[in-house]
């Protein structure tokens, strides 16, 4: 049974989250004895930062102004990230679930814990088959760890069931990019943003989720760019934009199709580009005929005149950059949304040239690299496809096994929980993933964790999900290991080790290898350091689309990162994709895009309403997202005092017109209820949101978690959950809720 062994209150008292404000251990000097150039541990921008280190403690930060992406700039999370080291909640031992022990967990030796994990894996797999043991991994892991997790699941555990939390992040964009371009990576470096005449931002709260990107956009504006923002809320980046389109959540395809319609009607097309470099334009043209400005306005809820204005600016621009993020991707039609955006880009012909760009904004630290090297259920290293025989053969050869020893495709992270429900998955290993906070309808997730026969969590803090574990293995913080990460632009950068893991904690890749050894399957898991893993990753990716073969630790340091694809030592790396005359291993000189004929694909993006549209019972749209001072499920940032204080509790944002109708005043308690569950939070009444929509950030656990309310409906292709739209009732709460979580 993987139920919580003690009350949440008892666990909280022992394991936190507690808020660290200063370094643990009074009287210890904070003067650094060295500065380590590395990168922030949080979002996909992976800002360069220097960490101040004193002995075996990270004691502060210093800007790293030479690193070209952020030139010393940081957001508040980067500034305070040092407080996660030396944290009182840091796990220093392995723990075993024990309801008799204080707070439900008793320390045990690392070696004994690993033995127990191996024994449980063997027992479950012997009784129920290899696939009965699943692995959930994460996109904050380095490329080396992500690679190792995929290899560990397939080659050591021989289970098909591995997936990762990028399922909540990059998969819609990834799937659509592969369908349209044959490759899944930002098409341009961020330096192309500043020379764009029009910057189009759809569903991206850039100021809060990718703050450093703000500087690129403001610089584009200084250079004369018009900034168009499509969002249900006037986010900080929208506040001073040139055109704001307050879209109704879940209607992005309609807008993209409406813009496409106007591009055709006004002949704002690059016909030469369409003819030479694309397929499928006619079908899309036929499809968007019905998307007149009037109909687009009716469906999107945006004033027709603004739609026409946006189309004209987009249509007439000579250079442009289109950016999008989870706002259009977290939908049951997330892939279709992204395809709609790409259609607009392809019709304009503005891609593959300086100042002409397109990108999705990667969310997690290694959201890019984490989806390339094999921890995704359908993927093998190098962006290869686990269902393709030639790809299986290539990777099997590197791993020294027969291709038929590799399991086939597994299922997505949410489906793994449904498999637990059906008894098909009995055991689970998780690392770098906190699904009890981050997955939708998370009451279901909690029940499924309870149902597991065995659950082992590798983590540095006892997060909400790990509280269900039978064994907790103390893993490593980002600053306790080295490795590479592929950031938002496709630039591979290097994380440098600052300190050793404290106590009995181990670097994650060592833990995984120790489990393999305890299972008696050491072969393939005897790496001495991350560099050796990276060397194998380079070989495994060689010849694939995500080709890292020419990237070395030394080159990364010397060149401030190297952009993949980089197929050989003398290759400069590829900062901008799809340039005239470029070569790729799929087109082999036939064209710019990653298909045998070298042509990009238009796809008809058909509009459909959200899985759960509003009705009389649930008449208000709930949309969710992030705030600047917290990160994802908050495992780290809810433990950093100054960040918690900046925005301590989630609030429900609503327009005064809606608040007035509901009789709720600013600061009062409001209950948001859906068919799944409810959540009571203080109202923040603001005019910066559509009156038919409420917004709640999702970083919190327990009674404050809005994912009690969200819907587990998923995109049929990408399997991303529809975090951005569900139907709710909102009403004034009778009483203040009790929050046991801190």
């Amino acid at each position: 049974m993987a139920t919580q062994p003690a009350t949440t209150r008892d666990i909280l008292e022992r394991f936190g989250p507690h808020r660290a404000y200063a370094l643990n251990g009074n009287g210890v000097g904070t003067e650094p004895d060295r500065l380590v150039k590395t990168h922030c541990c949080f979002c996909g921008q992976q800002c360069g930062i220097q960490l101040k280190v004193n002995g075996n403690r990270v004691v502060g930060f210093e800007p790293w102004e030479e690193f070209p992406f952020n030139r010393g700039m940081l957001c508040p999370k980067g500034v305070k990230r040092y407080l996660q080291g030396s944290h009182p909640d840091r796990l220093l031992h392995a723990y075993q679930r024990d309801p008799a022990a204080p707070a439900g967990f008793r320390p045990l030796s690392y070696a004994a814990a690993v033995e127990q994990v191996a024994a449980a894996i063997q027992r479950i797999q012997a009784q129920h088959g290899n696939d009965a043991f699943a692995v959930l991994s994460g996109a904050s892991l380095t490329n080396e760890k992500a690679y190792l997790m995929g290899k560990f699941a397939r080659m050591c555990l021989k289970t098909a069931n591995i997936d990762y939390n990028g399922r909540l992040c990059m998969v819609s964009a990834g799937a659509a990019n592969k369908l349209a371009f044959g490759i899944d990576r930002a098409a341009n470096p961020w330096s192309d943003i500043v020379s764009a005449e029009v910057v189009w931002i759809s569903g991206a709260n850039i100021a809060e989720c990718a703050p450093i990107t703000t500087h690129y956009i403001w610089q584009a504006r200084e250079n004369g760019a018009r900034v168009i923002v499509v969002d249900p809320r006037i986010t900080p980046i929208a506040r001073t934009c040139d055109l704001f389109l307050p879209i109704k959540p879940g209607r992005d395809i309609a807008l993209f199709n409406g813009i496409f319609h106007l591009m055709i009607e006004n002949d704002w097309l690059d016909c030469d580009f369409i003819e030479e470099h694309t397929l499928g334009f006619d079908k899309v043209a036929e499809h968007v005929r019905e998307w007149t400005p009037r109909r687009t306005a009716e469906v999107t809820g945006i004033a027709e005149r603004l739609i026409r204005q946006a189309a004209e600016w987009w249509g007439r621009a000579r250079t442009s950059f289109l950016l999008h993020a989870r706002g259009i991707e977290h939908h049951t039609h997330g892939v279709q949304n992204v395809l709609g955006a790409i259609n607009m880009v392809l019709a304009s012909g503005r891609i593959g040239r300086p100042g002409c760009g397109y990108a999705t904004i990667t969310g997690q630290g290694n959201g890019q690299g984490g989806r390339e090297h094999g921890q995704k259920c359908d993927q093998l290293p190098g962006g290869r496809d686990i269902a393709k025989p030639e790809h299986r053969a290539q990777v099997a050869a590197v791993w020294g096994i027969q291709p038929d020893e590799l399991p086939g495709p597994g299922v997505d992270a949410y489906e793994i929980f449904r498999k637990i429900d059906r008894g098909e998955v009995r055991g689970l290993l998780s690392i770098c993933f906190n699904p009890k906070v981050s997955l939708p309808d998370n009451a279901f997730v909690g029940r499924m964790l309870d149902k597991l026969e065995f659950y082992v969590a590798i983590d540095f803090f006892l997060n909400e999900t790990a509280r269900h574990a039978e064994i907790v293995l103390p893993g490593s913080l980002q600053e306790e290991d080295e490795g590479t990460v592929t950031q938002i632009e496709g630039r591979v950068i290097k994380i440098n080790k600052c300190v050793d893991p404290p106590g009995e904690a181990r670097q994650d890749w060592r833990i995984v290898q120790d489990i393999a050894a305890a299972l008696g399957r050491k072969r393939g898991f005897t790496f001495a350091n991350p560099r050796e893993i990276f060397e194998e990753l380079r070989r495994a990716s060689a010849g694939g689309v995500a080709d890292y073969a020419g990237i070395t630790y030394e080159r990364i340091e010397q060149e401030f990162g190297v952009f993949w694809p980089c197929p050989s030592d003398d290759h400069p790396g590829t900062s901008r994709l799809f340039e005239d005359g470029c070569w790729n291993p799929v087109a082999r000189g036939q064209g710019r895009f990653y298909f045998p004929d070298g042509k990009a694909r238009f796809h008809v993006a058909a509009y459909s309403p959200p899985a759960e549209d509003i009705d009389d019972d649930y008449p208000i749209i709930l949309t969710t997202g992030r705030v600047v001072s917290q990160f994802l499920s908050g495992t780290q940032t809810r433990r950093i005092g100054p960040l918690v204080d900046q925005y301590a509790n989630p609030r429900v944002e609503m327009h005064p017109r809606l608040a007035g109708r509901l009789g709720i005043a600013d600061g009062e308690w409001a209950t948001i209820a859906s068919r799944r569950g409810s959540c009571t939070l203080r109202a923040q009444v603001v005019t910066t949101i559509r009156p038919d929509t409420v917004f709640v950030p999702y970083h919190w656990a327990g009674a404050r978690s809005i994912n009690q309310v969200t819907i587990a409906a998923q995109d049929p292709i990408s399997k991303i959950p529809e975090f951005k739209v569900c139907a709710v009732r909102v009403f004034k709460a009778d009483a203040a809720p009790e929050f046991e979580e801190m």
């Binding site: 001073t240 040139d242 005149r305």
Partner: protein, 225 residues
């Protein structure tokens, strides 16, 4: 070592995204650990996400120093107005009340006035102030006048402010949009036109086009722009 003359501090409120990286970084300074000296406020969150960062403006004739009965506030030759000298400060609050920009804070725990000193420990050894180093939007910028003019053609630095009868010139500059560079789409409109979401919706916005110019042009409009 004085702060080099060619370097200036520039605040551009139109760029501010309210992320508070500056506040969090300021609190990291060893001379006032845990206490940020920079101010960052929402102007009116109910109606806008607009925020305003405020550092000490380092006045040429600092009112705070002029009203200090203990002569505790000193201005260096480099124009940087320092925090009150601990040995002299009486904690009388005169400076807090007199500063036209509302910058100094009375730290009652220490009975001491504290304020932004342009990161003197950093700027006097050739580094940038921490807030301007980390600011991800460029709302706070430390560098040369040539750099800022090259990077930001849409706005001009202003360092002359009028408070009733009092004219104040400062070392720190406020970036004010130039009329010739009003945001495209605004038809040259100036002066904080606020966009209402409800005016951009299909249901109510048949004929109106409300550009989103929430910049603080109205706030810092000044002569010579």
């Amino acid at each position: 070592m004085p702060v080099p003359d060619q370097y200036g501090f520039f605040i551009d409120p139109t760029r501010c995204i309210g992320c508070r990286a500056c506040v969090q970084a300021c609190a990291e300074c060893d001379t006032h650990k845990g206490m940020p000296m920079i101010h960052l406020e929402y102007l009116d969150r109910a109606y806008s996400t607009q925020t305003m960062p405020m550092v000490c403006m380092h006045c040429d004739s600092p009112t705070c120093a002029e009203v200090c009965p203990a002569d505790a506030i000193k201005k260096g030759e480099d124009g940087v107005v320092r925090s009150a000298l601990k040995a002299r400060c009486l904690g009388c609050n005169n400076c807090v009340l007199a500063c036209p920009f509302g910058v100094p804070k009375m730290e009652s725990d220490f009975d001491l006035m504290m304020k932004c000193d342009m990161c003197y420990d950093r700027t006097s050894i050739g580094k940038k102030p921490l807030c301007a180093s980390v600011c991800p939007s460029g709302a706070l910028f430390f560098g040369t006048r040539e750099e800022i003019e090259r990077q930001r053609p849409r706005s001009a630095p202003v360092n002359r402010f009028q408070f009733g009868e009092q004219t104040i010139t400062t070392k720190v500059n406020m970036m004010a949009p130039r009329p010739s560079h009003a945001p495209p789409g605004t038809g040259g409109l100036r002066g904080g036109v606020r966009v209402e979401v409800t005016e951009c919706l299909h249901e109510t916005a048949e004929d109106k086009f409300f550009p989103l110019d929430l910049m603080t042009v109205g706030l810092f409009e000044s002569e010579g722009v």
